[in-house]
């Protein structure tokens, strides 16, 4: 219709785990793309639900299905699929997202009109909430993308369903770090950004449903685990930015205090406060850790509630 079989082959990678009810929408929105020259690699990360049968209902020769016998999480599942990909361009879909039908065509055009130094093209998206909708992404947010601020700032723009990457850029940057549990995409984007440039299409090209898909997203228990690895791998990035480093150390401390060990939390708070003694949140958390894990959870809940009341 629009492009037929023209244009480069795009390999679309979709890791999934026990989302059989959402999966058909995610798959259909890839197969209906106006840029039809694609292969869709669904990596079933050891689902125990109906996933194999649901994927089987799609009679499309462009669909490839791989099953991992053990659950290895999204980063490893994506790496398996990158190894199988045949296209020079790689896109990622999630099982709780819906692409608009022109997404690939717009991003392919963006990469093709840019020069070879551009390795990754991002785009805006719409986040659907129970009664509202939010547009994530703007030229300003893209221009001010700064990995030194950590995975919480500008994170929405970095989410993998927004990526169209050159396979070469992914391979040269060294693939996803499979140890990571929630910030694998952010950490990988950081490494890609050190070797290539990014481009951005300022139009919402996919929908993310917070109503159904929000749970995996805010996995705060994994923050301390992931942030440790990030600080270890990329510590040099914050050499001259002690305050930003302290803010990231605080994230480790809070995750430790809420989910794991108060002793560890205090250790990270001391570090953070040594770098930035004026961090009031860190002092408050330190006070909380003196009362044990329960205290911190209660304080966090109270703080969120107070903020919610003020926002109303």
């Amino acid at each position: 219709m629009v492009s037929g079989d023209a244009g480069p082959l795009v390999s679309v990678i979709l890791p999934t785990h026990n989302r059989a009810s959402l999966l058909p929408r995610a798959i259909a929105s890839v197969l209906a793309q106006t840029h039809a020259n694609l292969e869709l690699i669904v990596v079933d990360d050891a689902s125990s639900d109906d996933t194999p049968r649901v994927v089987g209902t799609f009679a499309d020769a462009r669909l490839r299905y791989v099953r991992l016998e053990q659950n290895r999480r999204a980063a490893a599942a994506r790496n398996v699929a990158i190894g199988m990909a045949r296209g020079p361009l790689i896109a990622f879909q999630d099982d709780d997202d819906v692409w608009l039908v022109d997404k690939l065509r717009r991003q392919v055009a963006c990469l093709e009109q840019g020069d070879d130094r551009v390795g990754l093209c991002l785009c805006a998206h719409l986040q659907i909430r129970p009664t509202s909708v939010v547009r994530v992404g703007s030229p300003e947010a893209f221009r001010s993308l700064d990995f030194r601020r950590g995975p919480l700032a500008g994170f929405g723009l970095i989410t993998t369903p927004g990526w169209l990457a050159r396979r070469r850029a992914l391979e040269e940057a060294g693939l996803f770090d499979e140890r990571l549990r929630c910030w694998d995409d952010w950490e990988f984007a950081l490494r890609i950004s050190q070797r290539t440039q990014f481009a951005y299409v300022d139009e919402p090209l996919f929908l993310h449903d917070r109503v159904f898909g929000g749970a995996m997203w805010r996995n705060e228990a994994a923050y301390s685990h992931d942030m440790r690895i990030i600080l270890e791998r990329h510590g040099a990035l914050w050499q001259d930015h002690p305050r930003q480093l302290a803010a990231l150390q605080f994230i480790v401390a809070r995750s430790e205090a809420r989910f794991h060990s108060t002793r560890e939390a205090r250790r990270w708070l001391y570090r953070a406060l040594r770098l930035d003694p004026l961090q009031s949140k860190a002092w408050a958390l330190l006070l909380g850790t003196l009362g044990g894990t329960g205290t911190v959870s209660t304080m966090t809940a109270a703080w969120r509630q107070a903020r919610g009341l003020l926002a109303r």
Binding site: M1, V2, P24, R25, A28, S29, L31, A32, T34, T57, V98, L100, V101, D102, L126, I128, T131, S132, V133, V134, R135, S138, E203, P204, L207
Partner: protein, 304 residues
């Protein structure tokens, strides 16, 4: 995924009418999102409303036997939709616009929402409107029952015809869209339909409407004659529904205010208050209007 398309000469279950005047650049996306629906037993009728661009060529390029092409001299969108409806063979009608995109399970979800025991009702769905940097979700509020009352239809002058699934017989029985209207013919149609049959809504957005940032009209002056036409055309049944009539006249007053017609707006509000003194929104706005335009604009922003 669903039923097989009716290519054996039998009528399809759903006819989708897509009127277009030019817009060749965006039309393929609008068409693709219909033809790639998970519910496949449909026909897509593209009504070319006197375009100067090659719409016929685009339609042929789709290569899908379920697409039909109609051409008329430029007669406006209401007439184009009626021409499409006249050619339609499906039991249900849906409408697409040239710059909109349906999510791929739209028709399937809407058909599932039609109760087999009461097939003669209408199902709307949610819509995401993207206008440059601003995004919004329609309808803002759906009652838990999912049923949209006639009064609600009357009080909200935005129909979003792209979200409808309506029995063809009901639309034909009402005589189709009012071709004398250049704006809001869809809303006027919905007012008539909602008197005839039950209107249900799926809250989930199944349509994405992308409008160019340059169409950022907050209030279109052409809406005033459209509103006047509706008030006079429906005067008869509005007389039996004073609450709805008051809401509608209030909306009319807000349009007049936005156009800077302060005395006319005051007259409409006063008439409202004479008949229904407890219509507090009329009272509030009438009070504010005494403070002049500056106060009104600060207090109300733009009507919408």
């Amino acid at each position: 995924m669903s039923a097989e398309p009716g290519m054996d000469g039998g009528a399809p279950r759903v006819s989708v009418v897509l009127p277009t005047f030019n817009r060749a650049a965006v039309l393929p996306v609008a068409m693709r999102s219909v033809l790639a629906q998970s519910f496949t037993d449909l026909e897509l009728i593209v009504v070319d409303d006197g375009s100067t661009e090659d719409i016929r060529g685009l339609v042929q390029a789709s290569g899908d036997p379920r697409v039909r092409y109609l051409r008329q001299e430029r007669r406006g969108v209401a007439a184009a939709r009626n021409a499409g409806v006249a050619a339609a063979r499906g039991a249900y009608l849906a409408f697409q616009d040239s710059d909109d995109e349906w999510l791929l399970d739209k028709l399937q979800r809407q058909l599932e929402a039609i109760a087999p025991t009461d097939p003669d009702h209408m199902v709307l769905c949610g819509l995401l409107r993207v206008r440059g940097r601003s995004v919004s979700r329609y309808p803002a509020r759906i009652p838990p029952s999912g049923r949209i009352s006639h009064a609600q239809v009357l009080s909200y002058p935005f129909a979003y015809v792209q979200t409808w699934l309506v029995p063809r017989t009901a639309l034909l029985a009402e005589g189709g869209f009012d071709e004398s209207m250049r704006n809001w013919s869809d809303w006027e149609m919905l007012i008539r339909l909602s008197r005839r049959l039950a209107v249900h809504a799926i809250a989930e957005p199944l349509v994405v409407s992308v409008q160019l940032p340059d169409s950022l009209t907050v209030v279109n002056p052409a809406w005033i004659p459209a509103m006047e036409h509706i008030l006079s055309k429906h005067a008869g049944h509005l007389a039996n529904d004073p609450a709805a009539a008051a809401d509608l006249r209030y909306a009319y007053a807000r349009l007049l205010l936005a156009a800077g017609r302060l005395p006319d707006a005051r007259a409409v509000l006063l008439r409202n208050l004479v008949r229904r003194p407890w219509h507090w929104r009329s009272a509030a706005v009438a009070g504010l209007s005494l403070g002049g335009r500056g106060l009104l604009e600060r207090a109300l922003g733009n009507p919408r």
